[in-house]
Amino acid sequence: MEKEMIVNRPDNSKMYHPHMPTAWWFRKWSYFLFMLRELTSVFIAVFLVVYLFQIYHITQGADAYWEIAGQFRSGGWIAFHGVALIFAIYHSLSWFKTAAVILTPRVGGWMVPPWMVVALHIAAWLAASAAVLMLYVLI
């Protein structure tokens, strides 16, 4: 057992213990943005499950795919994907920003500035997106 190194402590029962308010993430803009960032995962998860559902049908054959493809033309699904896309883009941008905090590469003695790390990520992102788009357009 470790020895107690601090003799005097304030008495717990004689202090005021504050509580986090329910709506703490509305108190600061930065907290709200944080919660939005975490919320992106819900939209991405739903999209992934839907996409997996579509892929399942595609792998069953073209007929199976056409059977379910129609329902995704509904306004509801279009709206969902529109919102999901906005959230997904927000996820990408915020993710690159956080990545720049973790990845601090050095070239020789020179530290690559964070904005450049973000810029490199965005470049890679655009390239990857373009590559996927190519598959749809060219092939």
């Binding site: 995962s41 991405i44 999209f47 997996l52 995704f72 994907h81 896309l85 993710w95």
Partner: protein, 121 residues
Amino acid sequence: MKKPISFAPLWWGLFAGGGMAAAMLVPIHIALTGLAVPLGWLEEPLWLYQHWLVKVYLAGLISLSLFHCAHRIYHPLFHFAHRVYFSLPSFALRLIGRPVAILVYGGAMVGAASAIWIMTR
């Protein structure tokens, strides 16, 4: 005394990997599959899905991203929402935390498994 092995780094590693994959690739897939195709601007290149490389790519992207989402849903959303809305003391949180974790990460595992199953059929 030997400490029980912590799975936290594993979940976090999958979360981080999935986060990067999702950041790089999910927006374009939403834009294409969710918007461009239904709106009739483009067509789903169905035959491409038969290619093994595409299958590996999609299985990887979807499973990793699902782990990312599971982590983000479990940690902040679950964690905060429960603590705040029901004012649960931390021991109670720990108590229900485990089943919820099993549910969320388990869900991701089922998702990943089905992705792999679908692609390998």
